[in-house]
Amino acid sequence: MAGLPKILLVEDTVQIADIYMQVLTNGGFTVKLVNNVDELLKIVPEYNPDIIFLDIMLPGGKTGLDALKILRNDPQYGAANTRIVLVTNLGQNDETQKLWEKYADGYVIKAEIDPHELFDIIESFGYEMPKE
C-alpha cells in the first residue's frame, strides 16, 4: 500500500492519548486526536483517515461501539473501508464480540500491549513503516 496511512486516535484518557500520540508521531505518522464520538464523527469526513484507533469507553453518551456502527452504516462518513481498530481495556462481552467481528478490523487491549506494538498493528494491515 502506497504511502503512510493517516491515523485518527479516539481516546479520552489524557495519559494514554499522550503516549499514543508521542509514539505514533515519533514513528513518523500523521495523527489526529479526538476524545469523544461527536468530534470523531465531525472530523472523519474532512480528515478521511486510513486507520482509526477507537476507544470504546468515551464520554458524552455515545460509545466507541455506537460510533463503529454509525461509521460503517452511514455512507456520508465515507468510512466504509477505513481500518477501524477498537482500543479498549474492557474484556470482550457478547455485544463487543459481535460488533468487532462484524464491523471492526482489529481489537486491542491497551493494558496488554506495549505502545510500540501499534506499529505492528498498522503493519498487519499491509502498510509500510516510515523510514527512520
Binding site: 484518557t13 495519559q15 503516549i19 509514539v23 481498530v85 478490523d105 496488554e112 506494538e117 494491515f125
Partner: protein, 752 residues
C-alpha cells in the same frame, strides 16, 4: 365347610364326637355281644331241656315196655296159667299207676284175663281182629307200641308183647326188645296187651318251660301232634308236618338239630329245635319265641339309646356352656380389635382367665399399648421430619413413578407460589415449568448430577435460577420414586454477578493507569534523547516486567470472571500445534537458562494441526511451562512432549521438581488454590493459572490432569481433540488468512 363354622358349632361337634361316638360304638359292641349271648343261652337252654326231656320220656317208655316184656315172660303168663297169672298181673297193675288196663289173650285172640282199673273184668271178648293183636301175633311177632290215643283227653299207648316159648331158642337170658325181634311167629302163644297212661311222662315234658315263654310239644314219626300244652290242638287232632321244624325233623329224623330261628305252629318267630325219642321215633319239638329270647336285649337297647340320648343332651349342654365360656373372652377380644381398628388405642380388654385366652387378651393389651407408643413415635418422627423438611431452604418435592407430586415442603410450595397441599397429586412438570439455555428442561430421574442454572418463572413472574438434583428412590413403600431438590440460586447468582461485575470493573479501572505506566515506561526506554545509565535502563526494564506481571494478573482476574459468567468465548483457528509448543518453549528459554533448568521437546517435528483459540491455548501451555520452571530446582529438567493418540492430541509437561503432595492433587485445579507448605515459598502465582488452564482446556472439549509424586516431580497432561475438517467449518468464524493474533491484540487484514 369346617372352617365356615363358628366356634360354638365346632365345640359342639367336637363334644358330640368325643362324648357320643365311643358310647355308640361301645353300645353297638355291647348290644351285639348281648344279642349273641342271649341267643347262645337260649340255644344251650333249649338243648339241655330237650335232651333231658327226650331222655326222660325215652326212659319212661323204655321202662314201661320193659316192664310189659318182663311180665310177659313170667312163666304163669307164658304158660297161660290163668290163676297164677291173675295174681301176678294184678300185682303189676297195682304197682304201676300208669297201667290202665292189662289184657292177656291166647293165640286165637281170646281174652283170658282183663284187668281194668285194678279190677278183673268179667266180660272177656275175642280181640283177634284188633290192631295190636295182629301186629304182635301175625305181622312181626315183635313188641307193638301203638300210636298215642287220647281218651277223655288222656293220652295213652297200647303196648302189646307176644307170649313166646323160650325153650326153642335155648336162650333164657334174652329179655330185651331186640332179642324178641328174632323170634319166630310159630312160637307165639298169645299176647300181653297193656294200656299205659302217658299223662305223667307227657306232663313232665310239657310242663318244663324253655326260658319264660318257650314250651315243648311232641309229634310222632308222621308229624302227628301227640302232646301239646294247648289241649285244643290235641282235640283237633292236628298234623304239624307242615310246620317248619316238624318238616325238618321228618326230613332227617335222626339228626340232632341246632336250634334255629323259624316259624312256629302258631306262625310266630321262634328259636326251635327237635330231639328224637329213640324208642318210638317221636320227636320233642322245643321252641322259644324270639321275642322272649330277646326281651332282655330290647331292654338293653332301650337302655343304650337312653344313655346315648342322655349323653347327647349332656354334651350339648356342656358344649354350649364351654363354648360360651370360650367365646365370651374371644368375643370381647373381637370387640376390642374392632375398637382398635377404629383407632381407639386406649381400649384395654378385661382379662377373664389365666388360660391362653387370658394371655392373648393380655398380649393384645400390650400390643395395643406398643401400637399406641409406635404411632405416637411415628407421629413425632413425622412431625420432626416435617419440621426439618420445612425448615430447609431448598425446595424438596417427592414424586411417584408418573412424576406426580406426593409431597412438597414449604420452600417448594413458596417457590411454586402455592400451598403445599395444593401441589400434591399434580404432575411435577405442570407446577414447575423449567427451561435451561432457553430450551424447555425436563427433570431426568436418571441423572446423578446437579443441573445448574435451570430457569423457573414463578407465578408472580419472578425469574428463578435453580440447581436441580434428583435422588432416585428404589422400592419405597409409599410409592415415592424421586426426591427432587430445588435449590433457588437466584440470590446467589445475583450476588455472584455483582461480584463478577465488580471484579471486571475493578480490573478495568486498574488497567487504565497501568496502561499509562506501561506506556510511559516504554516511551522512557525508547526515548533517544534521554541519557540513562545502565542502572537506569535496568530499573526501567524491571518496572516494565512488573507492569507486565500486573497486566497478566489483571487479565487472569478478568478471565476468571468471564469463565464464571460463562462468557469466555473461544475464537477458534487452525494451528500447527508443534510450532505453537516449540514457540512457547522458545519463549521460556531465557527464564530456564536463568534458573539453569533444561527444557526439552519430545514429539513429532512435522506439523500437527489443531483447532483452538490461539491466545487462550497458548496461555495454557505457557502457564504450565512457567509453573514447571518455577517449581523445578536448579539443574533440573523439563520435558515437553506431544503425541497423537486416537482422535486426541496429548501434551505433557514433565518436570523433575518438588512434586505435589497427594492430598493437594484433587484440589489443584480449584480456583485460588495454592499448595501449602514448601511449595508456597517462592511461588508468586495467584492460584488462578491452573484453574484458568483447566477451564480453557475443557472449553476446548479436552481434559487436563496431573500425576505427581512428592520429590519425584510432576507431570501435567492435557488432551485436545484432533483437527477435523467438519469442526473447522463449524467452529472457525474468522476463516481469513489475514488474521493476526498476538497477546493483547488481533487484526483482520481483509478487504473493506
Amino acid at each position: 365347610m369346617w372352617s365356615s363354622l363358628g366356634i360354638r358349632q365346632k365345640v359342639f361337634a367336637l363334644f358330640s364326637v368325643i362324648a357320643l361316638l365311643p358310647l355308640v360304638v361301645i353300645s353297638i359292641i355291647w348290644l351285639r355281644s348281648t344279642h349273641d349271648q342271649l341267643k347262645q343261652a337260649a340255644v344251650n337252654r333249649q338243648n339241655i331241656l330237650l335232651s333231658s326231656s327226650a331222655q326222660r320220656l325215652n326212659d319212661a317208655l323204655e321202662t314201661e315196655i320193659n316192664s310189659v316184656i318182663t311180665h310177659s315172660q313170667e312163666s304163669s303168663v307164658t304158660g297161660l296159667n290163668i290163676d297164677q297169672a291173675k295174681i301176678n298181673l294184678m300185682q303189676y297193675a297195682n304197682q304201676d299207676s300208669d297201667v290202665l288196663r292189662i289184657t292177656l289173650v291166647d293165640n286165637n285172640g281170646n281174652e283170658k284175663i282183663v284187668i281194668n282199673n285194678h279190677e278183673f273184668s268179667t266180660s272177656l271178648n275175642n280181640i283177634k281182629s284188633s290192631e295190636e293183636f295182629k301186629v304182635v301175633s301175625q305181622v312181626s311177632n315183635e313188641v307193638s307200641v301203638s300210636d298215642v290215643i287220647y281218651t277223655n283227653e288222656q293220652p295213652r299207648i297200647i303196648i302189646a308183647v307176644p307170649l313166646l316159648s323160650f325153650s326153642k331158642l335155648g336162650d333164657q337170658n334174652l329179655t330185651s326188645a331186640e332179642a324178641l325181634a328174632r323170634r319166630f311167629g310159630s312160637d307165639v302163644k298169645g299176647a300181653l296187651i297193656v294200656d299205659i297212661s302217658l299223662d305223667n311222662p307227657f306232663q313232665s315234658v310239657l310242663t318244663s318251660e324253655i326260658g319264660g315263654d318257650g314250651y315243648t310239644y311232641i309229634v310222632d314219626a308222621e308229624g302227628q301232634l301227640i302232646a301239646h300244652p294247648d289241649p285244643e290242638l290235641i282235640k283237633n287232632n292236628a298234623n304239624l308236618s307242615s310246620v317248619n321244624q316238624v318238616s325238618r325233623f321228618l326230613a332227617a329224623p335222626a339228626s340232632i338239630e341246632v336250634p334255629s330261628v323259624t316259624l312256629s305252629e302258631k306262625n310266630s318267630e321262634v328259636l326251635s329245635s327237635h330231639y328224637r325219642i329213640k324208642r318210638t321215633g317221636w320227636a320233642i319239638i322245643g321252641q322259644e319265641p324270639i321275642n322272649s329270647i330277646y326281651a332282655p336285649y330290647n331292654q338293653v337297647v332301650r337302655l343304650a339309646v337312653f344313655i346315648i340320648i342322655f349323653a347327647g343332651i349332656v354334651s350339648t349342654l356342656l358344649s354350649l356352656l364351654f363354648s360360651r365360656n370360650l367365646t365370651r373372652p374371644i368375643r370381647s377380644l373381637m370387640a376390642g380389635t374392632y375398637q382398635v381398628a377404629q383407632g381407639n388405642l386406649d381400649l384395654q380388654i378385661a382379662k377373664e382367665s389365666k388360660d391362653e385366652i387370658g394371655v392373648l387378651a393380655e398380649r393384645f393389651n400390650t400390643m395395643t399399648g406398643n401400637l399406641k407408643q409406635m404411632i405416637t413415635n411415628l407421629k413425632t418422627e413425622g412431625t420432626k421430619l416435617n419440621v426439618v423438611l420445612n425448615s430447609v431452604g431448598e425446595g424438596i418435592v417427592a414424586t411417584d413413578s408418573l412424576n406426580h407430586v406426593v409431597f412438597a415442603n414449604i420452600s417448594a410450595a413458596v417457590l411454586a407460589g402455592q400451598l403445599p397441599s395444593d401441589l400434591t397429586g399434580k404432575p411435577f412438570k405442570q407446577i414447575f415449568t423449567l427451561s435451561k439455555n432457553n430450551t424447555p428442561f425436563q427433570v431426568d430421574p436418571n441423572s446423578t448430577e446437579i443441573t445448574k442454572e435451570v430457569v423457573f418463572i414463578s407465578p408472580n413472574k419472578r425469574l428463578h435460577y435453580l440447581d436441580i438434583f434428583v435422588n432416585k428412590i428404589e422400592n419405597d413403600p409409599d410409592g415415592i420414586k424421586n426426591i427432587i431438590t430445588l435449590r433457588d440460586q437466584t440470590d446467589e447468582r445475583e450476588l455472584e454477578m455483582m461480584k463478577l461485575d465488580f471484579v471486571s470493573m475493578a480490573a478495568h479501572e486498574l488497567r487504565t493507569p497501568l496502561t499509562a505506566i506501561r506506556g510511559y515506561l516504554s516511551l522512557l526506554k525508547t526515548d533517544a534523547n534521554s541519557n540513562f545509565s545502565n542502572n537506569g535502563v535496568q530499573s526501567i526494564e524491571r518496572a516494565q516486567s512488573s507492569t507486565d506481571q500486573l497486566a497478566g494478573l489483571i487479565s487472569n482476574l478478568l478471565n476468571v470472571s468471564k469463565i464464571e459468567r460463562g462468557s469466555l468465548n473461544l475464537s477458534y483457528s487452525k494451528l500447527d500445534w508443534v510450532k505453537t509448543v516449540r514457540e512457547a518453549l522458545d519463549g521460556h528459554k531465557f527464564s530456564a537458562l536463568e534458573k539453569q533448568v533444561t527444557l526439552l521437546y519430545e514429539g513429532p517435528t512435522e506439523s500437527v494441526p489443531l483447532l483452538a483459540d490461539e491466545i487462550s491455548i497458548k496461555e495454557v501451555i505457557n502457564n504450565l511451562i512457567a509453573n514447571a520452571i518455577h517449581y523445578t530446582p536448579e539443574n533440573g529438567r523439563i520435558i515437553i512432549s506431544v503425541r497423537e493418540e486416537g482422535d486426541k492430541v496429548i501434551t505433557s509437561i514433565k518436570d523433575s521438581g518438588l512434586g505435589i503432595p497427594a492430598n493437594a492433587l484433587s484440589r489443584l485445579f480449584a480456583k485460588f488454590y495454592r499448595v501449602k507448605g514448601g511449595m508456597a515459598s517462592g511461588s508468586g502465582g495467584t492460584g488462578l493459572g491452573l484453574y484458568i488452564s483447566k477451564s480453557i482446556v475443557e472449553l476446548h472439549k479436552g481434559k487436563i490432569w496431573v500425576e505427581s509424586e512428592e520429590g519425584q516431580g510432576s507431570t501435567f497432561t492435557f488432551s485436545l481433540p484432533s483437527y477435523n475438517e467438519v469442526q473447522y467449518d463449524e467452529l472457525v468464524r474468522t476463516k481469513d488468512m489475514g488474521v493476526n493474533k498476538r497477546r493483547g491484540w488481533i487484526t483482520k487484514n481483509t478487504a473493506r
